[in-house]
């Protein structure tokens, strides 16, 4: 009986892993296709489609745009999230629960609706579609995340270190820069990398709020109009690689915190 369960478990787990990895394997494999269609039989390996991606200025500038929007919006989200988390964790504010609820509220609303709302508002206010508009949207989705991560990590022992610094005469800004930021560094990094990942992959807000200069997911979306194309496979594989690097960095900061 126990053996049957074991064998069945292995088979089931293999089947699910197969299901999970099937599209990724097909994507990466056919990005190395030598001919013009990313369908069997496999004719590669060849790097010609990666060449095509890297010499396509629309894709490379979209890639730079994505990195720019992701890093700046994540910096803004993590700065706002950290300051507010510190304020709420350290001081008694009237209506604190309600205000914290307000900051985390965007987590419960789908990106489509956040993007729609900003589109309607910017349309009325005459704000043109731009990378800046998309970046503002990305801060809206990532600020609650950064706030929640950092706020949940502000524990009692950190409060005691801060208190010691204050007792020794450190002014608030010194406490913040020399004590709180270093102590909270793992949570701050975690918030930053998670924001980077989400902003890097985000589609619908960028799609609604940008026009000519746009981010990589939107440019890939435009590529899809030409149907199945190994070039799309190549750029998709590159995007996947960047996401994996971000996730591994995220894991490492988490692990380091656990060991600390």
């Amino acid at each position: 009986m126990r053996r049957i369960v074991r064998i069945a478990s292995w088979l089931y787990a293999l089947a699910v892993y197969g299901f999970i990895f099937l599209p990724v394997v097909v994507l990466v494999l056919f990005s190395l296709q030598a001919t013009s269609f990313p369908i069997p039989p496999f004719t590669g390996p060849s790097l010609r489609w990666y060449d095509a991606v890297l010499s396509d200025t629309r894709l490379t500038s979209a890639l730079l745009n994505s990195l720019l929007v992701a890093s700046i919006s994540s910096l803004a989200a993590v700065a706002l999230g950290f300051l507010s988390a510190w304020g709420f964790a350290r001081f008694v504010l009237p209506g604190s629960g309600l205000l914290r609820g307000l900051i985390t509220l965007p987590l419960t609303v789908s990106y489509l609706i956040i993007g729609m709302g900003l589109l309607v508002l910017f349309n009325w206010a005459g704000v043109p579609k731009s990378l800046l508009a998309a970046g503002i949207g990305h801060v809206v989705i990532n600020l609650p995340l950064c706030f929640a991560i950092i706020y949940s990590q502000m524990g009692d022992h950190q409060i005691n270190i801060e208190r010691a610094a204050r007792d020794l005469g450190a002014p608030e800004w010194k406490v913040l820069l020399l004590i709180t930021v270093p102590v909270m560094a793992p949570a701050i990094f975690a918030g930053f990398f998670l924001s980077m990942t989400f902003s890097w992959d985000e589609f619908v807000i960028s799609f609604l709020l940008t026009r000519f200069d746009t981010t990589l997911p939107v440019e890939i979306w435009n590529l899809l109009r030409s149907g199945l194309n190994p070039k799309t496979n190549a750029v998709g594989s590159l995007v996947f690689a960047v996401s994996i690097v971000l996730v591994v960095l995220f894991e490492l900061t988490l692990l380091r915190r656990r060991k600390a």
């Binding site: 599209p23 709302g117 809206v140 009692d156 995007v239």
Partner: protein
């Protein structure tokens, strides 16, 4: 929270200005770029596309136009299928990872299981299009071994949409259910075994009920993310049958009809809120 409160009171030097200076930027951002846009969307939904005063015509259009209704029905059907299938696939998988895989390999096994979770939505859906295409991998394999004579129509169907969604949510639910199973104290199982319950009875009467709240949270998350997603149905389902997000985007893209798109978005959000209220008592989302 008590301790934090005490410390706050023990800080007379800080005054009132500092704490507000810390929280105001985040609050201001949320008000300006989340609450205000949402209000603008609400107001916009009450105007007509061609100008004029306030009107409820966008909402009545949704309730009287059968094709709009149909989009909501499609959305609810697809979301329900996706949620049920994903939970049924993910639970045994998470159980195997938590119970059958040796402890030292678990972290790696879990990380592998959710790796494709981190690809962008657009790329993931495109990858499934490759797999399901007319002469894609699956059809080549099926015709190759002679299961079917002609390639099956897999892409641009509801089946494709559901497959793309299930792929994503199996990973998400595996994460949440795995975490739940690991939190379960082993003493429950020992107690059940001491009282003479076999593994099956222990699972049905102890493990499953105790992990049910976690499953509910995961299922609700699936519902919310699935019903609001535009990319998966647009890339994999095509335009054969419309889901609500596709209908919303169509109003903006083809007709520039912001008021109707706003109204449809608000209706979609209302459905999510109703679903939340309906299962609120099972959803005890912990707050830090």
């Amino acid at each position: 929270m008590n301790s934090v409160g005490n410390i706050g009171r023990a800080l007379p030097r800080a005054g009132r200005a500092l704490p507000w200076a810390l929280v105001t930027p985040a609050l201001g951002w949320t008000l300006l770029f989340f609450v205000l846009p949402f209000t603008a969307m609400g107001l916009s939904s009450l105007t007509a596309h061609d100008g004029g005063g306030f009107t409820a015509s966008n909402y009545s259009e949704f309730f009287t136009n059968p094709s709009y209704w149909q989009a909501m029905v499609n959305s609810l059907e697809v979301t329900a299928i996706v949620t049920v299938v994903s939970v049924l696939l993910a639970y045994p998988f998470a159980w195997i990872l938590a119970e059958q895989v040796p402890e030292r390999w678990q972290r790696l096994a879990l990380m592998l299981a959710v790796l494709p979770f981190w690809t962008s939505y657009v790329v993931r859906s495109y990858s499934w299009l490759l797999v399901l295409a007319q002469n894609g991998v699956i059809n080549r394999a099926l015709t190759g071994i002679g299961v079917v004579a002609e390639p099956l129509q897999l892409a641009n169907t509801r089946f494709a949409t559901v497959t793309g969604f299930v792929h994503f949510f199996v990973m998400l639910l595996t994460l949440t259910i795995f975490a739940n199973l690991k939190q379960l104290s082993p003493s429950y199982r020992k107690a059940a075994a001491d009282l003479g319950a076999g593994p099956v009875r222990t699972f049905l009467h102890v493990v499953l009920p105790l992990t049910l709240p976690g499953i509910m949270v995961g299922a609700f998350l699936t519902f919310v993310l699935c019903i609001g997603d535009y990319i998966t149905p647009q890339i994999l389902g095509g335009n054969n049958e419309l889901l609500m997000p596709q209908l919303v985007m169509m109003q903006i893209g083809r007709r520039g009809d912001f008021p109707l798109a706003s109204a449809l978005s608000i209706i979609l959000m209302a459905v999510v809120t109703i679903a939340y209220l309906a299962c609120a008592r099972w959803l005890k989302i912990e707050r830090a």
